[in-house]
Subunit: 322 residues, 2 copies
């Protein structure tokens, strides 16, 4: 399928890169000779765990918020998230002087609640069992005229996430493949748009966790499949369904989706910590695990891995070390 | 004092950089807006924790071993170290096909013993209380005709370590100061030679830990002072005296030496882990602590910090997280 017919274009990604210049971190691309020896490939880690607010989410959120009208900016934004989208959106709003309200479950890790408040956002908590976060968010939108910032199903957010792959390919142009985790599909969709535009022959592999394979099922079925709440340790990809915008992009541009287990994810996070000296959250370790376990075809010799984030609790990090 | 009269010149550092090209990692220079906001400075972290074998030590060791004669290479090398010098030297020897014997205390962390053996070195252990590692090493040198590779008091090793600052200044030329930990002084001496040559007005600050301030005492006294074995958590700088080559370089080129506490070191390591998402060993956190605690003059607005290494046990890393 020609990328021109997709909801996001490479021009959108390039425009996002202009907006993010000097504002998002141009994250480093790290390599590990030990990892290469282990896998028999040349692997390039795009370290979005070193992005502002600790994950790629800041890219898309900032690109979205920067394009609000002055009036929309004044009325503020609302987002619901228990994770990196909350922090990325709160930081983007702070930098653009936009009032932000983030709806989070009351049992979210305190470090994430604190970080989101630390970026100046108003945090509204709800009971995960009895509350309905979307209803709460919609009510705020209705009451205040605020703009809802979705986590992935948005053209500007997808375009913003794609700047991660744009930077990676600028630095390492001759990749055979890129590998990315799939939650709602915003990251991999934007990255696929950028990577395919810069290097049409590149293969794009998505990675999901066992029990969180809604994207794989959706591509196999040819329609968006809704699954039960996943329990994988990779909390960033516990999405129950991909989006109406990310689905057609993934269908057009992905070579395959592969599946990893929680043990494989933890092994990958442990490798990153012990050998590469970087902190990677379970979701960020998902694509590392896919390469470590040789779930990617052997023909992919030079592989870019999108390490999506590094926000992990001290407790979980400790348990990884044991 | 003109740098021409010192035992190591900038040409030595540049020659080392040529030898290390494509062999040592050109480690990334990371920044943290949070750290900058906290300290009111623009700080650039030269991440030698992401160097091969996990520390800057590989630079000097490789530069030393690469200059052995074919005959010396055949007879092999010996080093004694309980830490990063062991691993850096073992890896350099492996890459150059030089037989390596590393003398390590039998209570060294198993991860370090294993890593050193993993690089193909023969490891000889001794009892830290009753053994004399230098005597053991000297005996091996006498028996085998092997070359002893000292940890810091060697021209080629000092020149190799200086390539860290050379790379940092190439990437961020307009620094007001660089800050480095001081153990035996090899790292800071090489870095000072490179930094002062590239930017004569730069200030070079050394950092030691409480109870490990032999370099500060030596500069104050005008002669090398020998201290009791330090107990600081920063195991890489528990040196009891600086070297006859590093002393004159430090005396000529350092602006000051400042002192940090173990608590300040652990706070800095915790910041690096939680906010910057990088694993830093206590010694690598020493110069971070000096900047965090404002031990460096306020006039230094743009500061390069040499994060010397990332080799830390899982137990200690866990305790930092708590």
């Amino acid at each position: 399928m020609p990328t021109e017919s997709l909801p996001v274009t490479f021009d959108d990604v390039r425009a996002a890169a202009e907006r993010l210049r000097g504002i998002a971190n141009r994250t480093p691309v790290l390599t590990s000779r030990t990892f290469n020896a282990l896998t028999g490939r040349a692997v390039f880690f795009k370290c979005e765990n070193l992005q502002r607010a600790g994950a790629f989410k800041f890219r898309g959120a900032y690109n979205r918020l920067a394009q609000l009208t002055p009036d929309e900016k004044k009325r503020g934004i609302v987002a619901f998230s228990s994770g990196n989208h909350a922090q990325g959106t709160a930081l983007a709003a702070k930098l653009l002087n936009i009032p932000a309200t983030i709806v989070m479950p009351d049992d979210a890790p305190r470090v994430k609640l604190d970080a989101t408040r630390g970026y100046g956002a108003e945090v509204i908590t709800y009971d995960r069992l009895t509350g309905n976060r979307e209803a709460i968010a919609r009510q705020l939108v209705a009451e205040r005229g605020a703009t809802l910032v979705p986590p992935f199903n948005d053209r500007h957010i997808i375009a913003g996430q794609g700047t991660a792959a744009l930077e990676l390919l600028e630095e390492v142009p001759d990749l055979d493949a890129i590998v990315s985790p799939i939650g709602g599909g915003g990251l991999i969709s934007g990255c696929a748009i950028a990577a395919k535009a810069l290097r049409p022959q590149i293969a794009v592999y998505g990675v999901e966790a066992i029990g969180a394979d809604d994207a794989k099922q959706s591509l196999a079925r040819g329609e968006i499949v809704h699954i039960d709440p996943p329990t994988t340790i990779a909390d960033g990809i516990r999405t129950q369904s991909i989006g109406t915008l990310t689905f057609p992009i993934m269908r057009a541009l992905l070579s395959d989706i592969v599946i990893v287990s929680d043990d494989e994810i933890l092994d990958a996070a442990r490798f990153a910590l012990a050998r590469m000296k970087i902190v990677v959250e379970p979701t960020g370790a998902v694509p590392i695990a896919a390469v470590m376990q040789n779930h990617i075809p052997a023909s992919a010799r030079r592989v870019g891995v999108i390490v999506s984030g590094g926000n992990i609790s001290g407790e979980l990090l400790s348990s990884i070390l044991m």
